[in-house]
């Protein structure tokens, strides 16, 4: 993707530099090295970029006065001459040796402070040339592009460029979303179609995401559940997906710039359904006929016996709680969140209701409901009850009620299973501890004499107070035995 350079880039950056550099001092010299070589070159060539009272020079490998470019030697001379204030735009790939003196003596304009100002100015420009809504929309888009937990990298320059192009070209933010790694959104004049950012992200994930890369273009398009797309749109979308399959994401999305008929809103997805048609319980059994662990049940004592739900009578003391999980799928699968309420009941083999729950539709791939010890507190310790789970839709008799297979409820000791530890595997704990941020925590852990837990796979576990920093070290059985002796 080649960079689009506009007058506004230069003007806003000049203003940002003025703000950051502040009051002038005679003989001052500042430099910036956080801009990419193409931006540095464009700034130097653009005479509009002229922070007031500052003389601007680009530092590269060859001098060219017309392009405001000098070499590192000349930059050093300028620093020593202490003349008029100079701002050096350093092309870090071409500046060569000799800049070290300037780096250590002159003032550096760092990326954070420069773009702090530049983004604010660019945002203001969007507000004044378009509207406050457009600015908010653009800022939302940037957040959306970064994803949850800033998982996708959006550099400050990209943010700035996005805002500048919206303002300069008086474009709606949705049209330029491809610059941020999102699917472009077509917005009507009234802005009635909403910001479309969630759908934009959905398009990227379902059409160009790593998780779906193994699907054919037709299959990927199908997962979007488009609402009445034209044949031309489907064909063009499939063609596009084929042609960009081997391209980096940003390059792939930039191909959409002039294909407005493939943008969000030109392509609409089916809205969420409000009417439930059916429910289907997920079996507690795996393909091999064994009871799945997620169910909370265990296999019956003999083949053909119903599965068993074991409750520890002393669970409140031992902490050995049991859970019974029921899962089901609703049809249609795009049923809106909260569209229906389910009633999940455990009934005995005498059709007596033991316990019931009402849960709202979550809109997830699978709905689930869990029962734990507290739900069975009314049972005696010697209870042995045959039961089943019944799931129905509240207030809708047309949807067939679903029943699970029968199972037995009894009290006893739930089968013990040491869970595998959670934490990064390291060769030694010292290898993990160097990742901690605070020295005090490391000292405290190192001087601790507490015995560490061992998981079912023979790993010693170390949990640290720092979030997300738990470690595991394999303990050979020989060492374990030695330690125990």
């Amino acid at each position: 993707m080649s960079m689009v350079w506009l007058e506004l880039h230069a003007r806003l950056l000049a203003n940002a530099f003025e703000k950051v550099l502040g009051k002038l001092e005679p003989g001052a010299m500042a430099f910036v090295r956080c801009l990419t070589p193409d931006v540095v070159e464009a700034l130097a060539e653009d005479i509009i970029f002229a922070p007031s009272a500052w003389k601007v020079w680009r530092v590269a490998d060859a001098a060219d006065a017309t392009a405001r470019t000098i070499t590192a030697d000349r930059a050093v001379e300028l620093r020593e001459s202490k003349g008029e204030p100079v701002l050096l735009l350093v092309d870090t790939t071409r500046a060569g040796a000799g800049m070290d003196g300037i780096y250590s003596a002159a003032r550096e304009v760092d990326e954070a402070s420069l773009f702090n100002q530049a983004l604010r100015l660019a945002g203001n420009e969007v507000t004044s040339r378009l509207s406050r809504e457009a600015r908010l929309h653009a800022e939302q888009a940037i957040k959306k592009a970064r994803g949850f937990g800033h998982r996708f990298s959006v550099s400050p320059w990209t943010e700035f460029d996005f805002l500048v192009r919206i303002a300069a070209e008086r474009r709606r933010p949705g049209e330029l979303l491809y610059l941020l790694g999102l699917w472009p959104v077509k917005q009507d004049d009234e802005g009635g179609s909403g910001d479309g950012l969630d759908v934009s992200r959905l398009f990227v994930d379902r059409l160009l995401g790593t998780a779906v890369a193994g699907l054919t273009p037709a299959q990927r398009v199908e997962t979007l559940k488009l609402l009445n797309p034209s044949e031309e749109q489907i064909t063009d979308l499939e063609r596009l997906l084929r042609s960009v399959a081997a391209k980096p994401l940003l390059s792939a999305l930039s191909e959409l710039a002039d294909k407005t008929h493939l943008w969000v809103n030109a392509l609409q997805i089916e809205g969420a359904a409000e009417i439930i048609q059916s429910i289907e319980l997920t079996s507690w059994r795996t393909n091999t006929g064994r009871i799945a662990r997620w169910s909370g049940l265990i296999d019956g004592p003999d083949d053909g016996d119903p599965p068993v739900f074991v409750l520890d009578p002393d669970a409140d003391k031992t902490g050995d709680y049991s859970k019974l999980e029921v899962r089901w799928k609703a049809r249609p699968d795009n049923l809106a969140k909260g569209a229906v309420e389910y009633r999940v009941v455990i009934v005995t083999d005498m059709d007596e209701e033991l316990v019931s729950r009402e849960v709202s539709h979550t809109g997830k791939k699978e709905e689930k409901c869990r029962f734990t010890n507290d739900d069975f507190s009314m049972l005696n310790d010697d209870a042995l009850i045959g039961a089943k789970v019944v799931v129905s839709v509240i207030g809708n008799n047309e949807v067939e009620v679903q029943e699970s297979e029968e199972f037995t409820i009894r009290f006893g000791k739930p089968p013990g299973h040491e869970p595998a530890g959670v934490g990064k595997k390291v060769r030694t704990f010292s290898e993990g501890l160097i990742e901690l941020n605070e020295r005090e925590i490391v000292s405290a852990i190192a001087s601790s004499t507490e015995t560490l837990a061992v998981d079912s796979k023979g790993f010693v576990l170390l949990r640290t107070p720092q979030r997300g920093k738990s470690f595991r070290v394999f303990q050979p059985s020989l060492l374990r035995e030695v330690e125990q002796q």
């Binding site: 956080c34 760092d110 949850f148 998982r151 994930d205 890369a213 084929r242 390059s251």
Partner: protein, 609 residues
């Protein structure tokens, strides 16, 4: 089910349309003329012993005596394989004349641990003395006598490709070098004529001619060797002889097919030669083997990524890029090895995008196989079928067919169009998606791509894309202490709601990789001895241009804050200093120089020098 009761599998339908022979050729994940390895998982650390064997004998390794010696008396091969455990090997060795004092269970356990530490590896890298032994480590040249893994094909033709690249011959197959041939990696000659064998054959002399029998290599008992090497020699001696040459369908000859990524192949050959010559005698053996594996990981990764980039470009332009312009994939490296979350996220994003892109690679290979078959049976085109050592010209011919720039293209594409129609008809009932793909000439007018896409989809993801991912993992030595990448399992929120667990990978520089990269780049170019002064900046530049490792630059298609790029650079600088690989007395960038930790060996002049 068909009336005859035969299952209507995708393969059987394709068989019916294309015929058995042609289906066998296209129903695979490989295209050896572009990338002469099987696109599957392999163990890089098990490759070197097979390479030693091929250099020594000039042909592919066949059956040896490992299972016969250590597999016990079980009847079936499978049982013997399972029976060959560290415990059994140790007990057998302990009974040999050359071992004394290993009679008791404790001594044998110690011997077993030594074997596991230096010489042998269990399946799935399991610890313990009761697991099946699966691989042999390249502690010494004599490791080539141990036929592990028992079928050399399990190494996916990687040793063959390495031998072909290093031997650098011109013929169809790798041949024994003749007297006076100028080569750093002579095949079937003396140990001294091969840089790699010279580094590993310590204490072993050959009795007889160059290609003398399988028992001609003998260990001179007076030669001083390290404990690890001695153990390997004793293990090999127990077998009595080197394995036989490979017999059967696949043939004993080593194909001289090289990857189309000529530049990356040349760099690989250069790097391995220079590294072995300079450091084989100065770095302790165990550390040297680790660094050599890192060297192979870096080289093979560059070859694989370069081939992928070249073929993606070929699919668009119909041409393989000239050698001087070839490039690997540019990938961001997390120099903090996952300690800094922000850098890790960037490296994962970069690698994730690469993994997304390579999902298309099996389709390109399928297109190549389809065109290759069509072109090879064309009377005019088959004359152009010269693919060894490099298939660049042949691939350009196939590209011209794909883009219909040759008159022969019409007939070939017409035939493929018919096949597509016929196949769509056959698939309609059981594989409607694939049939639809084949018929949809609006979205994809070219029948080659329609067929390639449909056939790849019919093969299944597990046989195509997933195999490619395991190949990439193998060359990267993922999650190994001397590897190039880390992998972790993450649960990511989906935009459609819910979450999905999947693996994410990131490129990292382990200490071993850093050690190797620093040591190889401080060597003077060509065959000059000694070190050159290399600034940190030039080092970073070399990593990027030669291997595609981006440290202070964002890879194409990614935007990265400059502050993070600088942080990555600073982290790398600090790690190099900590490892003793960088000196710099002040802030001057040019004064930050890389330096080796090991003194360069002054080598005698080789015939080529």
């Amino acid at each position: 089910m068909s009336p005859a009761g035969k299952a209507n599998t995708a393969r059987s339908i394709v068989d019916d349309v294309f015929g058995r022979a042609r289906t066998r050729e296209i129903w695979t994940g490989n295209y050896g003329k572009a990338l002469p390895v099987s696109v599957q998982e392999f163990d890089l650390s098990a490759v070197l012993p097979a390479v030693f064997y091929m250099f020594r004998f000039g042909h592919r390794r066949g059956k040896g005596k490992f299972l016969e010696t250590f597999g016990g008396d079980a009847k079936t091969t499978k049982e013997r394989r399972r029976g060959a455990t560290i415990e059994r090997v140790a007990s057998k060795l302990a009974g040999a004349e050359v071992f004394e004092g290993f009679v008791g269970p404790t001594e044998q356990a110690i011997l077993g641990d030594l074997l596991l530490c230096f010489c042998l590896e269990n399946t799935k890298r399991a610890l313990g003395r009761h697991e099946q032994v699966q691989r042999v480590a390249p502690a010494h040249y004599m490791a080539s006598w141990v036929d592990l893994p028992d079928a050399v094909a399990h190494l996916r033709y990687v040793p063959e490709m390495i031998v072909a690249m290093l031997a650098d011959q011109k013929e169809q197959h790798v041949q024994q070098n003749r007297e006076g041939d100028r080569s750093w990696f002579a095949v079937g000659r003396g140990f001294e004529d091969n840089v790699l064998l010279r580094a590993f054959h310590h204490g072993v002399v050959r009795h007889g001619e160059y290609l003398a029998g399988r028992t001609a290599d003998r260990f001179e008992e007076q030669a001083p060797v390290g404990l690890d090497q001695l153990l390997m020699i004793r293990l090999a001696q127990q077998l009595g002889a080197a394995p036989e040459k490979l017999r059967g369908g696949e043939g004993e000859r080593i194909s001289n097919q090289r990857p189309v990524a000529e530049k990356a192949a040349r760099h690989f050959s250069e790097d391995i030669r220079r590294f072995v010559r300079a450091y084989a005698r100065v770095i302790p053996r165990h550390a040297f083997v680790e660094l050599l594996e890192s060297c192979m990981a870096v080289g093979l990764t560059t070859i694989v990524t370069s081939v992928i980039e070249l073929l993606f470009e070929w699919a668009v332009t119909a041409e393989i890029r000239k050698q001087c312009d070839q490039q690997p994939t540019y990938l961001f490296v997390d120099c903090s090895n996952g300690v800094d979350r922000r850098l890790r996220a960037l490296a994962e994003q970069s690698m994730d995008d690469f993994m997304r892109r390579i999902e298309q690679f099996p389709v390109v290979l399928m297109a190549l196989r389809l065109l290759d078959h069509g072109a090879r049976y064309d009377s005019k085109l088959k004359k152009l079928h010269q693919t060894r050592p490099y298939a660049t010209d042949w691939l350009n011919v196939l590209g011209e067919l794909l883009h219909q720039r040759r008159e022969e293209a019409q007939a070939i594409l017409y035939d493929l169009e018919r096949k597509a129609e016929e196949l769509a008809e056959g698939l309609q009932e059981d594989y409607a998606d694939a049939a639809e793909m084949l018929k949809n000439n609006r979205a994809q007018p070219n029948p080659v791509w329609r067929l390639a896409e449909a056939l790849t989809s019919l093969q299944g993801r597990g046989n195509t894309q997933q195999n490619l991912i395991t190949l990439v993992d193998s060359v990267l030595l993922v999650a190994r202490p001397n590897g190039l990448a880390m992998k972790r399992s993450v649960t990511r929120k989906l935009s459609s709601g819910g979450a999905k667990k999947r693996d994410v990978r990131s490129l990292v520089f382990t200490d071993s990789v850093l050690d190797y990269l620093a040591h190889i780049h401080v060597l003077r170019t060509g065959n000059k001895s000694g070190y050159r002064s290399l600034s940190f900046k030039d080092f970073l530049q070399a990593l990027r241009t030669r291997y595609g490792f981006c440290v202070e630059h964002a890879p194409p298609g990614m935007t990265i804050s400059n502050e993070l790029l600088r942080l990555n650079r600073v982290v790398l600088e600090r790690r190099l200093r900590d490892l003793g690989l960088l000196t710099g007395v002040n802030d001057a960038e040019a004064m930050k120089q890389l330096r080796p930790r090991f003194e360069h060996a002054e080598e005698y002049v080789h015939g080529v020098a």
